[in-house]
């Protein structure tokens, strides 16, 4: 593909599809990511978000369509080549090198930007020594960036959970990526940890100018950070837009709450209200009504008290789906 076709996008997915047997885990996804933005990919469990990341980073090869990074197709390229091009990632279930120290973990990330081989190592050539020193210094800087320099010589597996997530980010940053893909960075984090993470992600974009592409279930993180959101469901892209658009998108609400989920929610509220007022509950005739109305109805409800466990209201009165603790996809 020629560079002119990228239209200034850093990453483009063109009908990207991967088929596992009869299952189209990612189905004709089109996506454009502009350099310097923070973009989120959301969707219910099993929607194909991580699979899309795996396509992007060369773990899988698209069966149809293409993913372009700076105009070059990543299809069929090995992961380390793609890392060299400038796509780095973290993993949903933390994949640190557990028996290595934090510093060594980050030093592995420098691999792709350095070159010394076994002979230089055997004879400890001056250029080898210089490069080793440079690798360590750079890695220390990345540890400092994520606030883990004090843990440099601790085993990765001995770090607290939140620190492990940040270490994974430091390791990814050490490859000097242009695009960093974060797979559920806030999963399992408490309030203050995820607030720190928000700040870190903003710093990655603002201070380093690295484009951030994240999968996240924590809607607070997504709505705080993302400038543009893509929503996947059953492998298909069902919506895209700025956060405000996504929040009110009926298809997204349906995907998260299930078909008719919004109706059920409204029904529940009406029942409760009716009970409070002592009136007889009259079912609302929802059939045939446009889904948009339902979503609006949800938004205009006054209290979250009656919301089912899967949905919560935030202060803006937007229906949110609670962060899913279930990590398996």
């Amino acid at each position: 593909m020629a560079k002119t076709e990228t239209q200034g996008y850093l990453m483009q997915a063109i009908d990207a599809t991967i088929q596992f047997g009869g299952l189209r885990a990612v189905d004709s996804v089109n996506m454009n990511i502009t350099a310097g933005t923070i973009v989120a990919l959301i969707g219910p469990n099993g929607a194909g978000k991580t699979t899309f990341f795996n396509l992007l980073t060369g773990i899988y090869t698209p069966t149809e369509g293409e993913i372009l990074f700076e105009g070059r197709s990543v299809s069929g390229k090995k992961s380390h080549v793609i890392a060299d091009w400038g796509i780095s990632r973290t993993f949903q279930n933390i994949r640190l090198f557990k028996n290595m120290t934090a510093l060594e973990n980050v030093m592995v990330g420098r691999h792709v930007r350095t070159s010394s081989g076994p002979f230089a190592a055997t004879f400890r050539t001056p250029s080898f020594k210089r490069e080793e020193k440079q690798i360590q210094e750079d890695s220390e800087r990345w540890l400092e960036f994520v606030g883990l320099i004090e843990h440099a010589n601790d085993l990765a597996s001995s770090l607290p959970y939140g620190a492990q997530r940040r270490l994974e980010i430091a390791r990814a940053l050490a490859t000097e990526p242009k695009l960093i893909c974060l797979d559920e960075p806030a999963a399992g984090m408490n309030e203050s940890e995820s607030a720190d993470l928000d700040e870190l992600i903003l710093r990655i974009r603002d201070e380093l100018g690295i484009t951030v592409f994240l999968i996240e279930h924590d809607m607070k993180v997504v709505m705080n950070l993302a400038e543009y959101i893509y929503v996947l469901d059953f492998g298909k892209l069902i919506a895209e837009g700025v956060p405000a658009e996504i929040q009110s998108n009926p298809a997204v609400i349906a995907a998260y709450l299930g078909e008719g989920g919004a109706e059920a929610l409204v029904e529940e509220r009406r029942k409760k209200k009716a009970a409070e007022r002592g009136e007889e509950y009259k079912p609302l005739d929802t059939h045939g009504a446009p889904a948009g109305t339902m979503a609006e109805a949800v938004q205009t409800s006054d209290t979250a008290a009656a919301a089912p466990a899967t949905a919560v209201m935030d202060s803006d009165g937007v229906v949110m789906v609670a962060a899913d603790e279930n990590k398996g996809e």
Binding site: T57, G58, I59, K78, S79, H80, A83, D84, S88, F91, R95, L96, F97, K98, N99, M100, T101, L103, E104, V108, G109, H111, V112, R113, G117, P118, A121, T122, R124, F128, E132, I135, Q136, E137, E140, R141, G147, I149, E150, H151, A152, N153, D154, L155, S157, S158, P160, Y161, G162, A163, Q164, R166, R171, A172, T175, G188, N190, S192, E193, L197
Partner: protein, 426 residues
Amino acid sequence: MTKKNTSTNTTASMEDAAVKGKGSAAETLFGGKAKPMFTGKLSPVKMALVGLLMVVLLLLPIYLQGMGEVLLLASFVLIGLYILLALGLNIIIGYAGMLDFGRMAFYAVGAYAAMILAIPLANLMGDNLSQFAFPFVLIGSGIVAAFVGYLLSLPVMRLRGDYLAIVTLGFGEIVRITIQNNPFNITNGLLGLPRSGDVLPWPPFFEWLRENVVLVMGNEFYFTVTRNVYWYYMILLVLIIAIIVVRRQDNSRLGRSWAAMREDEVAATAMGVNVTKAKTWAFVLGAFWGGAAGACFGFFQGSVSPEPFTFLNSVIVLAIVVIGGMGSIPGVLLGGVIIMGFPELVRWFAMNHLGGGGGDIGGQVANMRNLLLGLFMVIMMAVRTEGIIPMKPKLHKLYGKGKFGGTDGAADKAAEAAPSSKGGAN
């Protein structure tokens, strides 16, 4: 590992003021709690221990010869050769995390390559210089074995775990059986090399040493450099070089890529490690030391035949690495001494001090040595799965702040300061 680390941290922070900077001799001696050691540097205590060990190793042949236990030296040579083999295997298993059951293949290739290379090379170098053929043969055999390692790495690149073990196991047997069958009349089948009429060149300085170096103390103690003594020192020298080289390769960019691959292959490639390249280098460098050991073995014996290159011996090398501690050079050294030395020692003791012979107690204990070794291995694997001396994480002295993160209490302070470390799950 994790538990150990945490406890060190807590103790360190409790005794922070008392310990920092000073560190009494006792503390340095017992695990160096006060001053953690960085990888690549030896603490004074360790340095002294290594020095002491070297002196003992250097004087051992003189003592043994004085005691008349010359044959035991041959066992030490064998131990050294197996340690060399295990060092090579340690690159593949310990560093790169790939199972290899075919160590003897490279040993055999090295031994045969040495036999094939030595005679023409010695002829080429002439009578006076032929003794210096051995170093070239040693390196040449290593390179030949490394090339075979490269060839083996091509088909097995996509295999891991059990499947890799099966293929390497098969490869080891294929090499042995091929050698037995004398392809193209190269290996001389079961008769082995060198062929009758050919003579291996002497190793360097052997003739001179044998005739000239005689240590005399009084009248009853004298020291001659016999074949066993010579090879004892030669293997010791090769081992020291091998340890230095392997250590350097481990503490490098390549070593890190091996470790990353061993820990998590998917994450390693995603971080830009070319796994194919790292695996190939592991096979090539691991095979090199196998080949070098083979060359030493061939020269030490003066001839090679297919018998010693059996699957059982491959497993013994594997056991040295696993029981000693995968990825740990001290572990491999100790493992080699125990696994190889134990049966030899039992045999030597039984034969010399329990009365030798097939029928009596000595012979029976000697025959039970492999059984005892098996029992020892079972106990080891039940009690201490990570090996006798497990691999240590590589610690670096930080450039940025001149600080040592993690083990001197700084980590605890950091944990208090950084809110994000609080209340982390796990």
